[in-house]
């Protein structure tokens, strides 16, 4: 009963109004604007956040793509997103200043302890917003920073494992991580914030501003003199934010999260001090990551209990020397660590290289997303939207070694492969280095001999072979004229009838898509090279779709120039 009674009295003191609502004791002042600035940035985050959610899709496959779309293809999307992200930084700064000023004025003391606690709670919520928000973009930066943060939480003794599983929604980062962080970010945290802001502002108004030390006589109404000061401060802060957003080009977006890539992760700048602390502490990093922030927070919470000097009148900071000294020493320490961490990175050439690499990759991924769209498989699949990606990727792994470069084992395949000029060169010297010169078949008894034609008859023969590919520009009339010569010189070894094989490769539909697909599938078939083939068959390793993709690339080469090949988008 006694305890309850005490609690009631204590609460009564804290909740009873000690100031006239709507009045500023001592008159309006620019010293009271920080609360308004914080409130403004909170509202700004809510408004821009709601707007962003019109475009955002929280799933592993869509998150990055939807943010990239908003950033690069929606009018002023970059601006609103920039206001949201840099606005969060502004909010952290404003909260910090508000906190420091409150501490300096001793405004955390009786009867304002509850306001102080609510304020600390809000600050934690703000940090919670930034942690849950950073991962939502699902790019390299957000993904890896978040993984590290959850990893730190996982190092908590006893409950760490459970905390990690709860945070990431299962055993690893995935869809459930995003839905979870998204729900926290747009649902739970805003609701809690609304409640705490309500309490904080209500209490702040009940107790009025903390009078400054040199206080003028009397009080004047809040509206409009103090309001104008608040709004001027808000306008200046907003202008500064806008300048930052415009000059940095917005929030930025890195390449889509790649769980397999090595990435030099960095936290958001307001966690930099902990980041550096962890590095400095080496094997004691758990202490840095968990115990030190815990101690800092504990001290802030305890400040009204440690410093019990009366609030009104004698608010001289000298009387609370120790508490304030600790507080500002902490502030200075955090600021110094932050600056040191940033300076370290600035002076780290290796890190600079990583950043430049990440930037180049981000630019590329976003350009591809803008040009070709993102496949439903997700952000990482954006790299596969490069034209002829599949065929070219297979070429690199399956074909290149034997068909390109000095050390190749087979015929050269490059720009112009299968073109009229290529056929003419082949006719002139089938056993040449460009063709079968490096293969046994060129030295065999049945090796093809050069075609002994020149001038128009040669051109007609080239056209005859070329027309088999079904190329749209083939001149069939001209090709027909080569038939007698073909009968005479070639038909002993080469059949032109579909499905009929001969001692040499059949020419029916040679160079067409179907022919290439079949040839790649089994070059040792009698209709192709037969037993003379040294190239392995690929019909076991490559699916029909794969072989067709490869064949498409070869067909593209036919009309391509060396410059075209060099100009291809890198894989």
């Amino acid at each position: 009963m006694g305890l309850l009674q005490e609690l009631r009295t204590a609460l009564q003191v804290r909740l009873t109004a000690s100031a006239t609502p709507g009045q500023v004791p001592g008159g309006p002042s620019l010293a009271y604007v920080l609360g308004a600035v914080v409130t403004f940035f909170l509202v700004l985050s809510a408004v821009t956040g709601l707007a962003l959610s019109f475009f955002y899709a929280p799933s592993v496959t869509d998150a990055w793509a939807s943010v990239a779309y908003l950033e690069d293809q929606v009018t002023w999307g970059w601006l609103v997103r920039g206001l949201h992200l840099h606005g969060a930084s502004a909010l952290v700064i404003a909260c910090g200043l508000h906190l420091a000023q409150t501490a300096w004025l001793g405004a955390y003391r009786r009867p304002r302890e509850l306001t102080w606690f609510a304020g600390l709670g809000l600050m934690l919520l703000v940090l919670g917003f930034t942690i849950t928000g950073f991962v939502l973009r699902w790019d390299q930066a957000g993904y890896w920073a978040s993984k590290v943060e959850v990893g730190i939480a996982a190092a908590t003794p006893v409950v760490g494992d459970l905390v990690q599983k709860l945070a990431q929604g299962g055993n690893d980062y995935g869809n459930l991580t995003l839905t979870r962080f998204h729900a926290l970010h747009v649902g739970l945290l805003p609701a809690l914030t609304l409640g705490l802001v309500g309490a904080h502002v209500w209490l702040a108004r009940r107790h009025g501003v903390t009078p400054r030390r040199r206080q003028g006589a009397g009080a004047s109404p809040w509206w409009p003199a103090q309001t104008v000061r608040n709004l001027v401060a808000v306008a200046l802060a907003f202008a500064a934010l806008l300048a930052v957003v415009v000059s940095t080009g917005g929030a930025g977006l890195e390449a889509p999260a790649d769980p397999t890539a090595a990435y030099d992760a960095r936290p958001l700048w307001y966690f930099r001090w902990l980041f550096l602390l962890r590095k400095l502490m080496g094997p004691w990093e758990t202490v840095a990551a968990l115990i030190i922030p815990g101690l800092v927070l504990g001290f802030l919470v305890a400040m009204p209990l440690l410093d019990r000097t009366p609030a009104q009148g004698q608010g001289s900071p000298r009387r609370r020397r120790l508490v304030l000294a600790t507080f500002f020493a902490l502030c200075a320490g955090i600021t110094a660590l932050t600056a040191a961490s940033l300076a370290r990175d600035a002076g780290d050439a290796e890190h600079g290289k990583q950043v430049a690499k990440a930037e180049a990759q981000a630019t590329r991924a976003r350009r591809l997303a803008r040009t070709y769209g993102v496949p439903p498989a997700g952000g990482l699949a954006v790299y596969q939207t490069v034209p002829m990606w599949r065929g070219r990727a297979l070429w690199e792994t399956q074909c290149k070694d034997c068909h390109q470069g000095k050390d190749r084992k087979g015929p050269l395949i490059e720009a112009g492969y299968g073109s009229r000029a290529w056929i003419a060169r082949f006719f002139a010297d089938p056993g040449g280095d460009e063709f079968y010169g490096r293969n046994k078949v060129a030295k065999s008894e049945g090796a093809m001999k050069p075609v002994e034609l020149t001038g128009e008859p040669l051109a007609e023969m080239v056209e005859l072979v070329y027309a088999e590919s079904g190329a749209a520009d083939a001149d069939r009339g001209r090709a027909q004229k080569a038939l007698p010569a073909f009968e005479e010189q070639c038909s002993d070894c080469h059949s032109r009838e579909e499905g009929v094989s001969s001692s040499g490769p059949a020419l029916a539909r040679r160079g067409s898509l179907d022919h290439l697909v079949q040839f790649i599938g089994n070059p040792t078939a009698p209709i192709h090279l037969g037993e003379a083939a040294e190239m392995p068959r690929f019909d076991k390793d490559l699916s029909m779709v794969d072989r067709e993709a490869l064949a498409q690339y070869l067909l593209w080469l036919r009309t391509a120039t060396a410059a075209d090949v060099a100009g291809l988008e890198p894989l």
Binding site: D62, Q73, L83, V228, G373, P376
Partner: protein
């Protein structure tokens, strides 16, 4: 006199407060609203405008029953996604002559159920409210106010190319959407 200047000052302050507040709200509101309105002025979901290859004309025989074939778009853009090989729907193809065929949308013009072909009775029938259509697509009976919607086809190099078109549901007039 001092009262006067005091209330003047207050009026000024009030005006300043409103102007500042309005200015800030506008500076935040304008980009936000512009961004939210962006999709309204864009084609966010593309349809295939190019004719779709439905295969060789010779798959159809003159005088035979109509054949239902899936219509597959090579690529659809939807916001940030580019989706390959999207099934758009199906069409009924009928060979009309040696070098030509017709295509009918399988979407019922009444309320957009998918119609079927009854080979015994040789008519199209909608399972939802039993609209009947003759082999050329003309309406026979039922709630549909018009016949089946034809889809434009062209024949090139012996292959059928179809231009995918959707029509407004219901009504006797055929309007593309």
């Amino acid at each position: 006199m001092s009262d006067d200047s005091g209330s003047d000052r207050r009026a000024m302050l009030r005006l300043t407060a409103c102007a500042l507040g309005g200015g800030i709200a506008a500076a935040v509101g304008v980009p936000v609203v512009r961004m939210l309105a962006d999709p309204a002025s864009k084609i966010t979901v593309t349809g295939p405008s190019a004719p779709i290859d439905l295969g060789p004309l010779d798959r159809l025989k003159i005088g035979a029953d109509p054949v239902s074939v899936p219509v597959v778009a090579k690529e659809i853009r939807d916001g940030w996604n580019a989706v390959q090989q999207v099934v758009l729907g199906s069409a009924y193809l009928t060979r009309t002559s040696a070098g030509d065929c017709t295509a009918l949308s399988s979407v019922c013009p009444h309320l957009a159920c998918t119609i079927g072909w009854d080979p015994g009775k040789r008519h199209y029938v909608c399972p939802c409210h039993e609209s009947l259509f003759d082999p050329s697509g003309e309406r026979v009976t039922g709630p549909s106010e018009r016949g089946l919607d034809p889809l434009p086809v062209t024949i090139k190099d012996g292959r059928i190319y179809l231009t995918w078109t959707r029509y407004r549901m219901g009504g006797s007039k055929r309007e593309p959407v």
